[in-house]
Subunit: 593 residues, 2 copies
């Protein structure tokens, strides 16, 4: 079984020293009483729950999976008890606003709390985080009457929630949705149709499940403009409690590559009672609030899984004895050297650790930006924060999940053949993490969202905001002699990416397909530069301390930027000749492939 | 379930037009009667066996797996029948020399035959290929008496074979092996010890299993020089038949990430009767003949699995309707465009196809080189072929399996959420292929073997041989106006890699650890340049034809080399500053990570 020690020191250093979270919270009235001690206390208690209650169920949950029994879904042994403990401890309400009976913690703290849950048990964490998104969506868009029906049990975790978007013919393209909603003369809506790939769609953990469902209304225009959002309770609501089953039934339970303890369901809605959420035709807009939260969570998941993989690979590398170091025997008293003596192993571990440090900083930063978008007193700051969060969301989702897959794959290889054995535990991390590249919009969709919508559609305005932050960091770096090389790199990266984006915008005027073609490389490019920025900020925070732990941070930042530079150059070169690549691609006759 | 159409046109084009295999076989007496028609007939019949008998058992074999029952291993339903048909059809003896009762086909044909088996059912194919390696090893190193005991039943597939190398404490580092062999006064050897990760270690397909076992002899020196090779029959051999069980028993059956229908076992040898194979202390040398064959097979496996993943991703991309092409609606009569209309999807598919074409050419080329090493009448040509095969073997094993993992992962993503569902079949390909990066020496070991042993240890002599072949192809390319850019690229790549290797050799004089650190990037670099060479040769073969299929080959070659150039430049840049990277790495204090 895998071991896991929540990286509390890393998380608290990040919040306090790198991101200066307390200072920023103090400016937001809702969080003005938060400080570093509150965050530390919550993370510590949460990490105990993760390691003591969730980690022991991770491998067994994967092995046993969910089972379908007479139209219902049974979660694996121990799951219902763990969920009850989770609710009893109050964890579901951690980031729910105090006004809704929650504990009102900022999103950045929530992200780090969730990271530890994900590391210990991804399947469990998914259950929790969709519920939070459903509550946030209802809070923002539902009428007070409708919200009142759901807010308290969702906030407390008494009920769970789902997003019902996908249908067999409508995945990436939600404009193709066929599920219909019709209004009765009483004003109540009825939803009918089939949805698939619904996380937590059916299970035995809560007495009710709250489904947010995208559906068409009669005479709605074709495509995405004809889609509205509805809330459907699995159980009918009566007298402040729950009654008989609503018209929602289980069509199928998917057998999956990973997250096997999380129930991924096909659901049938048959004249199910529903309430409209938001305005008619605004379904996609409403759902995107939830979707953006979900995409941030995917980054959190990827960092958490990378962390547990890293810890176990590091431990294995320290204890597994094979071969002798090339430069000379490292441990003459042992039969062989621990494999961490080999520089190829050390480099693999270091790159993994650098990914985690930078990735964690990025997700926490986006959490902070979302907090500021919602709670900052200054309207300009709210808008700026929202724009930056929008730009960075596809990076968090797409880039971090792609990179996590690479690093976790490399960590598995450090185990040799043992990595392939289920008992070792590493292969489950690989399988569980694989969902991160696929769901909440595949990474190709993230890349298109980034380059098409977030960069080119606003003529690079959001990218300029980011560039200004790079510059701010560069100015600070210039005060620290050892960090000056980082400043120069950040400035170069920022200038090159900006010029490249402008050139891609010109290409797009001639052929829109160039945008799609460039998108994945652009996502990787922006990801590497944002990670460089994160490492530079970490180095700034660490430079004033003289102990080994802090010195490592500075070394890792300098090393990260030096190592990534050739890769950045390669992506720039690829993207500068993007239009040529598209021309060559267009001369291939795919019908003959 | 996945569909699969064996790529016979590709395979025959490759043998005949790209590699001119017939011409080369004619020079080797053992193959002088082979021609293109023989190869085509065998590949066609073999592919029918793969699709009709093995493909239908692939998903069910994965689902049911092998079971342990009272010290024995039961293969999944249908497996024993399929294996009997395989033997009855004579497939096991395809590449066994005619003098041993085999059909005497060249290795290059065997590799392409096996590719189709791997695509259809990797777990089955592994069973078959270890047996072939065991026979080849006994043929080369065992005494005539010992060989006579095993040759016929191994050639016919009546018995299967294993390689017993790994022990719990000895994986990458076989010098740590503890299994002991002692000679009785009668001259018979007895082997005792425990081996793990033994593919096909125990099963119900054959009445006997032939184990090649690495063991120490009494008073042998420590490390690899003290290791000898033994053959241990699971059943005692008596009167030309098999008798009671020898001292070999099943310790454990591994539950694995993939290839679940292939039994990976831990075995106990307890005073098992054994025969020495080769000389005392020469065990590793003997085993390496087998190991090199196994490493070529891993490349074949990666190409085969990439092929089935590609075919299904292509088919899915043609039929899955989502979104509209960015440059304008492609299929106005449909509800949405097939996703192949999106350039990002086309690029993913094209890169995958380019990998397969180049990778298949490389494994077939190495197959031909091994044929020539063994059968060519000219001693210089035999030595040159062997040297080139030795250089390219870690590229085939390490580079192709790494790249296959990337492309298969990208193909999975084209399926969106459906890729994560077991029923779709793609996720099994991901899991099965994952073993290719791990077994027969992890890819870190391959990288070290390539740079340390195959390039630096002989001062780049083998690399120069390869460079001469690049130059030969470049000269031919210069005769075809459209292909001249390929000639220039090949010459540049060859010169740059040669200069780089020399520089890495100098670095190594100062710090041997620089070799280990550079190795993975060097493996990728040489892989990309060898793939470029393969594509150039494919383009040369295709350039004279004017139909779409051949024109695509030329376009793909030009595109491959253009697309890979920035990546090659990036790896060169990384490797040129390798010593600096090692210095930075050495300043990190790993005890504080």
């Amino acid at each position: 079984m895998l071991s896991f020690e929540p990286p509390l020191r890393e998380q608290i250093f990040l919040l306090e020293r790198v991101l200066h979270a307390s200072e920023q919270w103090q400016k937001c009235s809702d969080f003005s009483s938060m400080d570093a001690n509150d965050a530390a206390a919550v993370l510590e208690a949460g990490s105990r729950f993760a390691t003591q209650r969730l980690l022991p169920l991770n491998a067994s949950g994967d092995r046993d999976g969910c089972r379908r029994e007479e139209g219902e879904v049974k979660t694996p042994p121990g799951w219902t008890d763990a969920y009850r403990d989770y609710v009893d401890a109050g964890w579901p309400s951690l980031t729910v606003p105090a006004g809704q009976g929650g504990q009102g913690f900022p999103r950045a703290v929530g992200a780090l709390f969730t990271e530890n849950l994900c590391a210990a048990n991804l399947a469990f964490s998914i259950l929790a985080n969709v519920r939070e998104g459903v509550l946030a969506c209802l809070t923002r868009f539902a009428s007070a009457e409708v919200l009142a029906l759901y807010a308290a049990p969702l906030a407390s975790g008494q009920w769970s929630g789902t997003m019902c978007l996908t249908e067999p013919q409508a995945g990436s393209d939600l404009g193709l949705i066929k599920t219909m909603a019709k209004q009765e003369t009483s004003g109540l809506w009825r939803v009918s149709g089939q949805k698939c790939f619904i996380s937590n769609g059916e299970h035995d953990l809560t007495p009710n499940i709250v489904h947010l469902v995208l559906a068409r209304t009669p005479d709605a225009p074709a495509g995405t403009k004809g889609i509205s959002l509805f809330v459907v309770s699995r159980q009918q609501l009566a007298d402040g409690g729950i009654g008989a089953r609503n018209g929602v039934s289980l069509l199928g339970l998917e057998q999956k590559h990973g997250i096997r303890a999380n129930a991924t369901c096909a659901l049938a809605f048959d004249n199910a009672q529903a309430h409209l959420v938001g305005d008619i035709g605004q379904g996609l807009r409403c759902m995107f609030l939830l979707m953006n939260g979900a995409r941030l969570e995917v980054g959190v998941q990827s960092v958490g899984l990378a962390e547990i993989a890293y810890q176990n690979a590091l431990q294995h590398s320290r204890t597994r004895l094979q071969g002798r170091a090339l430069a000379g025997v490292a441990q003459p008293l042992l039969s062989a050297d621990p494999i961490i003596s080999h520089s190829v192993v050390r480099r693999t571990l270091l790159a993994h650790k650098q990914f985690i440090d930078g990735g964690r900083a990025l997700v926490a930063l986006v959490g902070l930006l979302l907090d500021k978008e919602q709670h900052h007193p200054d309207a300009d700051e709210r808008r700026r924060s929202g724009d930056l969060a929008a730009l960075l969301t596809p990076v968090v989702k797409g880039y971090l999940s792609n990179q996590a897959a690479e690093h976790i794959g490399a960590a598995l290889c450090l185990f040799g053949g043992a990595g392939y054995i289920i008992e070792t535990g590493m292969e489950q991390v690989v399988r569980d993490q694989a969902i991160c590249r696929l769901y909440e919009g595949t990474n190709a969709i993230q890349a298109l969202d980034l380059l098409g919508r977030k960069v080119l559609a606003d003529q690079g305005a959001r990218l300029k905001l980011l560039g200004a932050l790079f510059e701010e960091t560069a100015v600070a770096l210039q005060q620290a002699p050892r960090l000056v090389p980082l400043a120069a790199s950040l400035q170069t990266f920022s200038r090159d990416v900006g010029e490249l984006a402008a050139a891609l915008g010109v290409d797009a005027l001639f052929n829109r397909e160039t945008v799609g073609h460039a998108a994945p490389a652009f996502l990787e490019l922006l990801g590497h530069t944002v990670m460089s920025w994160m490492h530079a900020r970490i180095a700034l925070a660490a430079a004033s301390e003289d102990d080994t732990w802090h010195k490592n941070k500075v070394t890792m930042a300098l090393d990260y930027v030096a190592c990534i530079q050739p890769r950045v150059a390669s992506l720039l070169q690829t993207l500068r000749s993007n239009a040529d690549s598209v021309s060559r691609l267009e001369t291939v006759d795919f019908s003959a492939l």
